[in-house]
Every structure is written in C-alpha cells, then in structure tokens.
C-alpha cells in the first residue's frame, strides 16, 4: 500500500498511544456513539431489514462466484456507452494508468472525489511524483490533506479530530493550498463547512480532470454509482471534461435492479440516513452533459488473492459503509490510525492482511485486534462474518499454509514471535487430552493456593498489569463431585 504505512508498529503498540490520549478517546467516543443510535433508528424503520441484508449477501456472493463473467460484461457495457476500460493488476499499474491519462489531457491538477481505492493505491503521492497535484474535495479528506494527516475512518477520515482541531487546521493550512480560511473562523460546524465551500469552489470551477471511485458498477448497463453527501462528488463528476474512475473489481453488481437493495442498506448503515443527499449515476458519456471522456480503471491489487481464500473471500462483499467501525469497541478505543491502513476497524482487520498479505508486523497483528465480540457482524449490511475471518487469518499467521499472493500459489511459513504461545497451546492440549494430568495440575494449584500471588511479573503483566489473578479454590469441581457423589452425600 502507500509508503505512509510502511514500518507501522504492530497494532497493540500503535493502539497504546490512542488509549492514553484522552482527547482522542473523547472524540471517538462522541462520534461513534452519536452514529450508533442513529443507525439503529434508521435500520429499525425498515421491517424487512433482515431480508435486504440477506439479498445483499446473496447478490455479492453470486457476483463474486462469477466475477470473470460480470467483469467482461461490464467492460462491454461501459465501452458501448462511450467509456474506455483499463485493467490494473496492482497499485503501481493503476497509478501509471491514471498519471498517463491525466498527462494526455495536458493538465497538471485534478480534483478528487473521496475514494478508498485511490487511497489504497497511494494515487495522490504517485501523481505528485509525476508533477500532478491532486486536490481532495470531500470535507474530511480535505482536512486530512491540509493537516498532512492520515485518514482514520472509512466514511469520516477526520473522525479523530474535533471541531476545534479542524478549525485550527483550516486556519493554519488553507492559505497554502488556495483561498485561506476566514480570519474570524469559529469552530461552528456550519462555518467550517462554509470555509470548505469557499476554498474548494475555485478548484471545482477551473478543474478539467477529475478522479473518482465508485460505490457500484452495474455489469448489465455499464452504469457507475457514486453515493455522497456534500455535492463535491457531483462537482467532480459533472464539471470537468475528463473523468477517471478507479474502482476495485469487487464493486460490480450484475443488474440495474440490484441497486434497489444497496441504495436502501448503504445510506442507513453508513450515515444513518434514509437516503444520502446526493447519488450520481452515469453510463459512459452523455452528449453535452458532463465529461466528454470517461475512463474506468478496474483494480485488482490483492482482490483476486482474497477471492482465492474460501473463508476470507466474503470480505469482498464489503460496500464500505463503516457500520462495523462505528460499533466496534476496539476501534472506539484504539482509533483508526492504529490499524496502519486506509481500511481501519473490523473490516480493515480482515481486509488489509488479505490485500497486503500477513508479512509485515502490522498486518500479522491485525487479525488479533478484536475481542471477537461480534458486534461488527451483527450490523454488517452484507453479513460478512468478520469474527470468522479474523480467526481464520489468525490461523494463517500462526500455522502458515497455502495462500495466493499476486496471483501465485505460495505456502506461507508460520509467523515468528508466536513460539511461546505455540508451546503453551501444545502443552494445554496435552493436559486437556489427559484428565488425570488436568486433575493433578488442578490439585497442585489448589494445594499451593495460599502461595499464589495476585499479580505476575514479566510477560504475565499483560494480564496482571490491570487485573488481579482469580483466587484458586480449595478444590476443583471434579474433586467435589467425586467426594460428594455429585452433592448427593451432602454439599460440603
């Protein structure tokens, strides 16, 4: 992925700083709790939510099972409607295609619609290296770009900042990128939105090239769909002469009718609205309305590797709503940056180690960044069983085994750093397979119980840094059971 994330420390270390930052904790708690209650209300309005969720799952699974067929059909439909389709096997190739297309227009700047795919491939940095300036136009992306920050949420990349911090970024940084923020800018959200409106207006009006992603691509018709709120998407999709959309191959759906499911489940799951303010749908190019040239870059970048995994492939159903982030107790405390990826939270913890592999320290630690509480699965509008995939990826980390990387079959070796754990697991299995040994261990623990400390030194501090050990009882249950004949001979 992008250079920004190279050398990220493992999740537990990265999360530690966030846990100890009271402002960040407050910002995340406030934002996630606000949206949780609203999502529950928006979802509760639809009596057939479970059926919509199930249909969404089925549509996505069916599409993934026949992905080659639908990608070819999509290519035909887009081409017939006047668009040009490009294929990119990885991030580098996608970036080269976009840079070339921009250069062919003779322009040196582009306006961008918020897009996870272009963040994933590090497009802005790649364009910068080619002398092309990319302006983010989504409010939160603008905040992140101005603040030279990293996104921490799929939907609201600046969720880690509160209104006062956003005002400070606008005041100090806007001037260097264009129209400065008003002198007397306060932290009122309406004023902040107004400052962004004025700052970006000049960029929209002069832009000749736009780059977007898409929420959905319809194979049958060649239609692309962008779901947004602010109108920056519409600006980018309609004012410039050239539009380049970079879209992951898993975003295809077979038919026009399929949108009736996702246009009900996505807005309610993401911003907790019945419908988001703006949805744009376009099919190729339209004479005298909107861009004259439309390019679609279909991106693999690890998606086919993910597709090859029988358990992990369900992650490709994701429609990037971010409901799982908003409900996740780990995300709420650790924040998005700790996940070391543009995809944070529960979905990030199963997506990043599949798209990027489990080779790096951060990616090998992400499958463990969950208490497996299952809240993510419960809210997921396409029923991705995130806990199941997390456990599956833990297995890949500790046991290794067959996987696909860059389209090639490989056999992964067990990750280092799990030797002690592996030995403990083996020892436990040995004991549990022999009730005699288990009983001997239990009795030894009971007999020596007065000597047990309530806290442990060394690695044991992971437990007893904050918690006392439980007191060991005078006898294990099985001894009581045998001694009293299951309580029939008196309970004591």
């Amino acid at each position: 992925m992008t250079g920004t994330y190279l050398g990220m420390p493992a999740f537990p270390q990265a999360a530690r700083d966030a846990v100890r930052d009271p402002v960040l904790r407050g910002n995340l708690r406030h934002a996630t709790h606000t949206i949780r209650a609203k999502r529950a209300r928006a979802v509760g309005e639809l009596s057939d939510w479970a059926e919509l969720r199930e249909a969404g799952r089925r549509i996505k699974d069916h599409t993934l099972r026949h992905l080659d067929r639908y990608l070819v059909q999509l290519e035909e439909s887009v081409t017939a409607a006047g668009g040009t389709v490009h294929w990119a096997a990885d991030a580098g190739e996608a970036n080269r295609i976009v840079a070339r297309l921009v250069k062919e227009t003779g322009e040196s700047e582009v306006v961008k619609v918020k897009s996870m795919a272009t963040q994933e491939i590090g497009l802005n940095e790649a364009l910068e290296a080619e002398g092309i300036r990319a302006y983010e136009t989504d409010l939160a992306e603008l905040i992140v770009q101005l603040g030279r920050d990293r996104p921490s949420h799929i939907l609201v990349p600046a969720i880690h900042l509160n209104r006062g911090e956003i005002r400070d970024v606008f005041r100090s940084e806007m001037g260097a990128w264009g129209r400065p923020a008003p002198e007397d800018l306060t932290d009122a959200p309406a004023e902040l939105a107004e400052a962004a409106r004025l700052h970006l207006r000049e960029k929209f009006l002069r832009a000749k090239v736009a780059v977007s992603g898409a929420n959905f691509m319809v194979a049958e018709t060649g239609t692309l769909v962008v779901v947004e709120s602010e109108g920056n998407g519409r600006m980018c999709l309609t004012l410039p002469q050239t539009l380049i959309s970079v879209v992951g191959i898993e975003k295809v759906v077979p038919t026009w009718r399929d949108l009736e499911v996702f246009l009900q489940t996505l807005p309610r799951s993401s911003t907790a609205e019945r419908m988001n303010p703006y949805t744009s749908m376009w099919t190729g190019t339209t004479d005298e309305d909107g861009p004259r040239a439309f390019h679609l870059v279909l991106l693999d970048n690890g998606r086919t590797d993910t597709l090859a995994d029988q358990v992990g492939r369900q992650a490709l159903r994701c429609i990037r709503c971010s409901a799982c982030l908003n409900v996740c107790p780990v995300y709420e405390r650790a924040g998005g940056h700790a996940y070391g990826s543009v995809y944070p939270g529960p979905i990030g913890a199963i997506l990043s180690p599949q798209l990027r592999g489990t080779g790096s320290e951060i990616d090998a630690s992400l499958p463990y960044a969950s208490s497996l509480c299952g809240a993510c699965y419960e809210v997921c509008p396409v029923a991705i069983d995130i806990p199941e995939v997390l456990v599956h990826l833990r297995e890949r980390v500790v046991e290794g085994g067959p996987a696909v990387r860059q389209g090639n079959k490989v056999v992964l070796r067990p990750a280092r750093g799990h030797a002690a754990e592996r030995a403990a697991m083996r020892a436990a299995r040995w004991v549990f397979a022999r009730p005699g040994a288990l009983r001997a261990g239990q009795r030894l623990a009971s007999r020596t119980r007065r000597l047990h400390p309530r806290a442990l030194p060394g690695p044991g501090r992971a437990w007893s840094g904050t918690r006392d050990l439980p007191a060991v009882p005078p006898e294990p249950f099985r001894d009581w059971w045998q001694r009293t004949n299951g309580g029939k001979d008196g309970t004591e």
Binding site: R65, L205, V218, W256, R274, D289, L307, G407
Partner: protein, 213 residues
Amino acid sequence: MSSRDRVLGRVRRALADVTPDDRPYEEAVRRDYLREHGGPTARRTVELLAENLADYRAIVHRSGASELPSLIARLLAARDAGPVVVPSGLDEGWLAAADVTRIPDRAESTPADLDRAGSVVTACAVAIAETGTIVLDGSPDQGRRRISLVPDHHICVVRVPDQVVSSVPQALERLDPARPLTWISGPSATSDIELDRVEGVHGPRTLEVILLG
C-alpha cells in the same frame, strides 16, 4: 500477457473450487424483501414524501397549476439571488410571473457562467416518498446535471401524485439507466465533523420542492 488477461486469469484460478451456478440470475438470487413499505394510498404517499423531504431540511410547498407561476415568482423574489438558470424544456408558464434575469442551460456555458446564477428551476423524473428523494434524469425540463448543482438555490417541481413512488425499488423501475441520473435528498450536507449532520456544503444549500397537483 495483457493486464486484462492477467486479472481475469487470476479470477478464474481463484474460483477453481466454486461450482458455477447456471440458473437464470433472478432464480439464483432470491429476494424476500418488500417492494415497498406499507403500501399506502397515493394521497398518503405524497404526505410521506412531504414529511421526509422536510425531515432532511428541504422546504416543501404545495400548489395547484394555476397558482404555480405566482408561487415560483414569490420564492425567487424572496431569495433575490440574481439570475435564474432555466432548462430548455421547462414549462414556459412556470416562470411567467417571475421578474428575473434568465440564463438558458447551454452546452457552451462555463461553470463560472453558472456560478453567477442564484437559482435554478427544474422539473423532476420521479420522487421517492419513503426516502424523501427527488431524481433528475437530464430530460429537457430538468437540464444538464450541473445546473442543479452550481446555483445555491434549487426549486424543483414534482407533479403529484403521478411522479411519486413509494420506494427505491419502484423508482429504479421507472428510471432509464442510460440517462445521467442525480438523486437528491435534501440540500447538500456533511457528517464529516464529529459524525453529526450539517446542511450546506457544495451543492445548493436551499432546496425548495413544490408538490404540484
């Protein structure tokens, strides 16, 4: 090998374990969800549209055909926001009473030209009651996509009950995917500051919907 072949080859190898489902698509994917929620009368559907539009801060007006020109004139005069963009196929009578400078929707206009307009008046293709959404499809009475975007004030006329459907599935049935479509649910908004909704960013900050019937 082209990247197209490489990606498609990877997809096919990744799916080696999967048995293809050769049933027709509509059979392969069962849909047990509702076509609409509630199935109310036409009158109640229009009420729901009005409620949901207002809930997301659109300003809703009702009008008969005869009062429409004076209502539009009044709304534009109250804004006093400068020239008004007019789609080529808009019913001429709608603006008959308005004393405003008109900017026609022309291909050669630049975005900067449009930025000088204060308002735009359009019709719509369909409106969705359950979500409080109006959909524009670029027909002559709605114009190019950008004209309902750049001006800060959008007046949209919905013919009720003919143009109103209950639900998203019903709306998609009525729409032509070959046309450029814009779904609008209230004025532009953002949830980017503390995940709380604030109205008014890049699109029109005022959306007025006239239910004509």
